[in-house]
Symmetry: C2
């Protein structure tokens, strides 16, 4: 195989109760990445279709992840990367992770799978580190493993694939503003009280249980964030109104996706998810805020070969 | 029925990763409580066999829980309570909770079950509040529900019964010193960094997953406490040596039970659990510290009628 095209989807992280460690894989949106073997060694990014992203491999997450991957293996060829961005950077649904994870997944196929999923996560995290300043696996894990994932430890690279309850479906809406992950991290307080920690971790623990038991009432009560959301919500126009609309329309839960500004809602079925999208859209229209929204299943497979 | 005798077991809480919210029910030790209807209305504690505990119903956790329970119901009789303590107060395996939970469970049977398990937990928590200064359901929940429990919210009384993996068995050892819960709470810091919170909650989330999947390697990696244990361990003689011995002898994990001084270890089978008990005992013998230890299954049923 000399060339491969993959679809690397977006992802939703934090899910209110699992800051920095919880995520799920989207299906509807993502980057389309073509990687072709070249006679010239090394990595080259020959095109990125939009958003004015750097093609310099030392300034681009995909280039950084790909270099980390091939650094210690002996190859007598190189790779050309072409990226069609399906996710706008700074949107909160893992734009950088889609590029990093997609590229390492594609190269791994081209060189006949020497690396495990966990190793791919480690390489993709190099891209995440470049863009956010620290190692995070919460976006790249669901892209590479599919479904819901929990990052128990970045240091030990201990990542758990969680159940993906049938029928669960996401509504995503993003007001047209950009929030840089690094900026959004700055508003997070550096310390929390033990009481808040206990409350937040109880919600996370209950959410994990709800995925196994498909108890949507428990899930609804668990997707709560009294630590990060109050600070980050300030950066997202109409957040509390959108959340209110979602819950009143039957969402299991609604919160900030990643570091925002995208907002996610989870619903029991497609009808409710689309109804929520319509009502969210109407609201943003009524207040004259541009937005972009869609409904997506939780993608169990993750990144995949499309050509 | 005019009289009932119940066995109300001990419980292990915190389990390193679930401070204040996680617990499991022991089987081997507990209080034996006899409640008898009396023509005189109200609650009376006619005997407690040891530890010099108060029989004044306003100074005793069982009396306080029982009063909370019957406060709003009309009865033309009262109750006499006799308690045989099987758990020493201040040992870290839920001595007060066993008395509170056992008494409300017994009275509920005598008055033909008007209250749900959750309501019984609420009444039993009144005893816990008296003894520790705040409402906690982490000990009383596993006693009343059996197995492993998670307290998502004390305020909303949202309590989840978790799976109880077959074969999982506990070793408990308690050096003969007393730690008051209220004293042990004082050494806990009031704030933690977000990083520590993320790490601790990731461990808790992974532990919940491990109960559903019976993944003992994950369980072992998850029962970790970098927040509370380092401060509380100072109060418990030989804690780190006992922990080291347990892990080297094949324990899945070892940590402080509740607020200590009891130490718990979890093992995959009875043989390992007993081997650990023997080695822990030898160690305490070698350093001339009195102790009390036993092996117990995780009790799925909780408090039960014995006569």
């Amino acid at each position: 195989m000399d060339s491969i095209k993959v679809f690397s989807p977006g992802s939703v992280t934090n899910l209110s109760c699992g800051y920095d460690i919880l995520g799920f894989c989207l299906d509807k949106v993502g980057d389309t990445i073509t990687v072709t073997k070249t006679s010239e060694k090394g990595i080259k990014i020959s095109s990125i279709d939009k958003y004015n992203l750097p093609t310099n491999i030392n300034q681009n997450v995909a280039g950084i992840a790909a270099q980390a991957m091939i650094k210690d293996i002996k190859l007598d060829y190189g790779f050309d990367i072409k990226i069609k961005k399906g996710i706008k950077p700074g949107s909160g649904i893992g734009s950088s992770a889609a590029s990093s994870a997609g590229v390492v997944f594609a190269i791994n196929k081209l060189i006949d799978y020497p690396f495990s999923d966990l190793e791919l996560i480690r390489f993709a995290m190099e891209g995440e580190k470049f863009v956010s300043g620290s190692y995070h696996a919460d976006n790249v894990s669901p892209i590479l493993l599919g479904g819901f994932t929990l990052v128990r430890s970045v240091k030990d690279l201990d990542i758990i694939k969680l159940p993906n309850p049938k029928g669960l479906i996401a509504t995503i809406i993003r007001p047209e503003i950009e929030i840089k992950t690094s900026d959004s991290r700055k508003v997070v307080k550096s310390k929390v009280t033990i009481d808040k920690m206990v409350q937040q971790s109880a919600n996370l623990a209950a959410f994990i249980s709800s995925l196994y038991t498909e108890d949507y009432d428990l899930m609804s009560n668990s997707i709560v964030d009294e630590i990060i959301e109050p600070d980050r919500a300030i950066l997202i126009p109409e957040f509390y109104n959108i959340k209110d609309i979602s819950i009143k329309s039957g969402a299991i839960a609604c919160g900030i996706s990643g570091s925002g500004p995208a907002i996610f809602a989870l619903s029991k079925n497609n009808k409710i998810a689309n109804d929520i999208l319509n009502k969210m859209s109407s609201h943003f229209n009524s207040v004259n805020i541009s937005y972009n929204g869609f409904v997506s299943i939780i993608n169990s497979e993750g990144v995949k070969v499309i050509d």
